[in-house]
Assembly symmetry: C3
Homo-oligomer: 246 residues x 3
């Protein structure tokens, strides 16, 4: 197989974000796309990554193929790519060969690893709320919660989204009104669900990939966040709710 | 009470500097100003902060009031303010409510705390020397002392200020002649006093607030450093001298 | 003796680089140059530094003289120099006096130390290969090896230089063809030698000093790297080869 990418940024950023959640992953390659579906070791978050063949300058894959790699190593290699470099991915002798081609040509080869994983199934979820908003508004809001640093509640109402966190001593709240660029679709009048701030902070880094995020969630129900670039890439997360006993 | 600040920078920088010296403080509010007078836990430095009502866009305080807060928490909140944000401070239900209003609106609420403190009296000091100088000249000079990193001597003479430090092996000295922008007022011909470099380094960060610093000190006597912005703000420190036994 | 340097950058960068390899050094001064020849504590790398009298604005040295100093301390002092400062070096009372003169004048004095060292002889080496290349191409290539992070092989062939590293799981390789700006002189068809990446990474920082590096090496033989600025300065390293037992 041989994949050529003219712009390293998207793959580089995606791998950086995913590597904060999972360490060993399997890329599934077929003639249309490369794909990761992985669960974090604590079973709290699932990450789904898809890069379409149209994102590549050259895309040559014969039949379906699985490539399991250590994501930290891949991340280290991609970090060496300069913005103007071309990235070439190939498999040679049971290794993943990565070539960064620019002023100089650097070649890296990473051992393919065995990942014992039960096939990850993306759960079939039915959400109460669908929100579309600028991705940086969400990441700023989640970062605001850090002063409280416990679970974070997402609250959807027909005219606004609220991100809030309440600790024993301190509290933080960001209200995002449904104005230009923010679309809220829901049947109920108010839906609240809580999530781990630690995971949310990793997920909202998707704002480096796409300008818009699609959020789906429900009452004490998983959250799904999708970062998409049309015809090229999707980075999605499913995060389990945090159910407080208070 | 309700206070509205159009420019977050001054409050943000001041709280950042003060929080390196003290952790729990009491803001004293009256109809003219908000004010902190606090002693560091080691009883070596006192910090005095005053922000005048004229620094605020809206200033509505009914009668004198004390607000004690954890300064680290307040610092964390203010760090989230963007340069163009408006800051609103209110008391609601025994909490300090802080609103950062910009492209988004973030609201934080911090528990008011009980601070058992004997009323801090600002000591009545009579100084031998009064110096006015660019605040960055002082902070550069103190930073130069770090290579020796023991006590620092301030020496005033009629025509120059000297900052110097002598260790067993190394020594450092900065001489600032009394030229343009530097005014030295003193009766004696030479006044020397030593202070802790660790504290001095925190104090000279006042250069982020004001372009000029007023220094007052005496022989083996406390140092007072004042950073002022006319009609708006004053950040002052009193630092105990370090008396060497050599 | 009195030395005056109008541009602090070269001395500052050189001392910073050397101080990562050795801590206590002896500057040998004579009427033409100041010079360091030092071995790192592990006896793996030798560093040679030479600054010619023509690099100084004022150069006044009476007879040969040795000055031994703690390089960390000297580094700390030079770091305080601003780009527009003039640096004055003098010996006063068995101390090295360093004056940084700019908007303010800072004076530092460092104890001269006793260094018990057998005179360092620069070994007389005969190399199989001589390469001249842009210094940043070499430092980028060495930094690329970090993902493997074991010994690094330098391979010279008549038409290219290869930098490569192979670990148990991963490998990295950079090929630099002998095109514009890269000159390779050798008799054999292929010369390979391995070196410690840890040391190489410190050595290639010479790219901050000079745009070109001269590399000399041989089969399982030391590497010599020279960074030169005509008529002013030379920073050179000799690095022992790493002989693997595999």
């Amino acid at each position: 197989m041989k994949l050529v990418l003219a712009e390293p940024r998207l793959l580089k950023e995606s791998v950086g974000i995913i590597s904060e959640l999972v360490n060993e992953v399997t890329f599934k390659l077929d003639k249309d796309k490369i794909e990761i579906t992985a669960m974090d070791p604590a079973n709290v978050a699932m990450v789904m990554f898809k890069m379409l063949s149209s994102a590549f300058v050259e895309y040559d894959i014969k039949g379906a193929q699985d490539l399991s790699v250590n994501l930290d190593n891949l991340n280290q290699v991609l970090k060496r790519a300069k913005p103007s470099d071309t990235i070439i991915l190939e498999t040679v002798d049971n290794k993943l060969k990565i070539t960064l081609k620019g002023e100089r040509t650097s070649t890296f080869s990473l051992s393919l690893i065995d990942v014992e994983e039960s096939e990850q199934k993306i759960p079939d979820l039915k959400f109460d709320v669908k929100v579309e908003m600028p991705s940086v508004v969400l990441s700023d809001a989640v970062d605001d919660m850090e002063i409280v640093s416990e679970s974070v509640a997402l609250i959807a109402e027909s005219n606004k989204i609220t991100v809030q966190s309440e600790g024993r001593f301190n509290a933080a709240k960001v209200e995002v009104p449904a104005t230009e660029g923010i679309i809220i679709k829901m049947k109920d009048s108010r839906v609240l669900s809580k999530y781990s701030i630690e995971y949310l902070k990793k997920i909202v880094k998707g704002s480096k990939i796409a300008e818009t995020v699609d959020l789906n969630f429900g009452r004490e129900y998983p959250l799904r966040a999708d970062y998409k670039i049309m015809d090229r890439l999707m980075l999605s997360f499913i995060l389990a709710p945090r159910v407080d006993n208070d």
